[in-house]
């Protein structure tokens, strides 16, 4: 009798837990789609606790990684120094030419005035954990709601676009990397201005989908964000086209893109805390309210 009662109680417990898990999945999915995903208090608290322990666990990893990096940097420093000197010289020359052109067109002063408005505040953040599942590509950052980070904010590194914040707690943020299959970014080929969507494939390569007719995309082309998805500012480097697949008779053509960011060595990133004023204006609604960051695109289909 007691055994039967225990079995029934256990079955009920499992049924309730499965029901609760399914409901949280549905609610979370809706929040992700609407771009309003903030973790519930209990999950946020758990994530905060986990991240604070992970920061301690990260010390030995950082120590070993730092020692390895210093050694390899010392080995490459001379060659890199020469390359950088050459690059600085080329950039100085380009800069001079651009200044000349701007002065000639009388726009330099206006641009200098605009610069302050256009600067987007960036928050440096450290990676404290990576996705435990090999099927998803996300990372945990050590900055959260307390630092002003919200869902839908783009995350970049000095190499280019890295991903998008998809959930936050008080002191941590979960960021979906560009490589994840849930990611989609409106992008443009810098050379030909061909527009399309960059999607993650779940591995180390990105997929660039564009309309085959009239688009000029070649291997070696640099792909940047178009700024038209309402999430990512225009001009962030996404990657370089490595191969273009033949379209055949299909309307959409695809190209493989090597990401600009070396995700295997990603340690520090910057969270863009707001969009530039040009984008704010572009995505303001008729009533004057701004569309919440991340609502229009960027979280996948």
């Amino acid at each position: 009798m007691a055994e039967t009662r225990n079995r029934v109680s256990l079955t009920l417990l499992v049924a309730v837990l499965v029901g609760v898990a399914t409901v949280t999945m549905v609610v979370d999915r809706r929040a992700l789609r609407d771009g309003t995903r903030e973790l519930p208090a209990w999950a946020g608290g758990l994530l905060d606790a986990v991240v604070s322990v992970q920061q301690v666990l990260l010390f030995p990893v950082d120590f070993v990684r730092g020692a390895w990096r210093r050694t390899s940097v010392l080995m490459d420093v001379e060659q890199e120094n020469q390359q950088l000197r050459g690059r600085i010289a080329r950039l100085e020359e380009d800069n001079l030419q651009l200044r000349e052109a701007l002065v000639a067109s009388g726009r330099l002063e206006r641009i200098a005035e605009m610069r302050q408005d256009l600067e987007v505040p960036m928050l440096p953040a450290e990676l404290v954990g990576s996705d435990v599942s090999p099927w998803f590509r996300s990372v945990l950052l050590d900055r959260g709601r307390g630092d002003g980070v919200r869902s839908g904010m783009p995350v970049i590194s000095e190499q280019g676009l890295a991903g998008l914040v998809v959930a936050t707690s008080g002191s941590a943020a979960k960021t979906m990397l560009l490589l994840d299959r849930q990611t989609a970014v409106d992008a443009t080929v810098q050379r030909s201005r061909a527009r399309g969507i960059v999607r993650g494939r779940g591995d180390d390569v990105l997929l660039f989908e564009f309309v085959a007719r009239g688009s000029d995309v070649r291997p070696g082309d640099i792909v940047i964000t178009s700024g038209l998805d309402g999430v990512h500012p225009k001009g962030l480097r996404v990657g370089t086209v490595t191969a273009v697949e033949p379209s055949g008779s299909k309307l959409l053509q695809t190209a493989l893109v090597a990401p600009a960011v070396d995700f295997g060595r990603l340690e520090q990133v910057f969270v863009m805390l707001r969009r530039g004023p040009t984008l704010e204006l572009l995505y303001a609604t008729e009533s004057g309210d701004e569309v919440p960051l991340g609502q229009t695109a960027g979280n996948g289909p």
Partner: protein, 178 residues
């Protein structure tokens, strides 16, 4: 009670170590600490309530450390726990080889179940095109580590289950006197 708390601590620490290690080593070469611990608990801990609650805790924490929806890994962990528990009644999973084989098959089922859930709840998400490249090393590392994880959890469970039970009761038969 003590067993449940210790297992929760060990489980959370295992997941955190897994997440930090994934910063250095690609996740496909790392074992799924959550799944291994859930299987180990299913085979070593007598109380099914402790096992079910442990699976739910690890499931939610895995979802927080992964790109999945909140609740997705809870269903997977509960499924893994139930399967291990039911099969352990019919098959002997306590040897290293049967356990490794079981975990190998479970890893493949786990990937399939994740794909089904992702297809249903997050269209476009899920497994990469070259899934075998990721699945093979991941399943193999799970299978290789499963016997060791189960042995450790079994040792902890043996120790703490006897503690939780308290000292053996020594009740003297009542003596009635008229």
């Amino acid at each position: 009670m003590k067993l449940g708390l210790v297992l929760a601590g060990v489980g959370l620490l295992g997941l955190m170590a897994n997440s930090v290690a994934a910063l250095v080593v690609p996740a496909r070469f790392l074992p799924d600490a959550g799944m291994l611990l859930v299987v180990a608990v299913a085979l070593s801990v007598r109380s099914p309530v402790v096992g079910v609650l442990f699976s739910v805790l690890l499931g939610y924490t895995t979802d927080l450390l992964s790109g999945t929806l909140l609740g997705e890994h809870v269903l997977l962990r509960l499924g893994a726990y139930g399967l291990a528990r039911v099969l352990s009644v019919r098959l002997n999973l306590h040897g290293a080889l049967p356990l490794a084989l079981f975990v190998l098959v479970l890893s493949v089922l786990h990937a399939g179940a994740l794909w089904v859930l992702a297809t249903f709840f997050l269209p476009g998400a899920g497994l990469a095109p070259d899934v075998l490249r990721d699945l093979a090393p991941h399943a193999l590392s799970n299978a290789l580590l499963a016997p060791a994880v189960t042995a450790v959890v079994a040792a902890v469970a043996r120790r703490l289950e006897s503690d939780d039970a308290g000292p053996p009761l020594r009740l003297e038969p009542r003596q009635f006197s008229l």
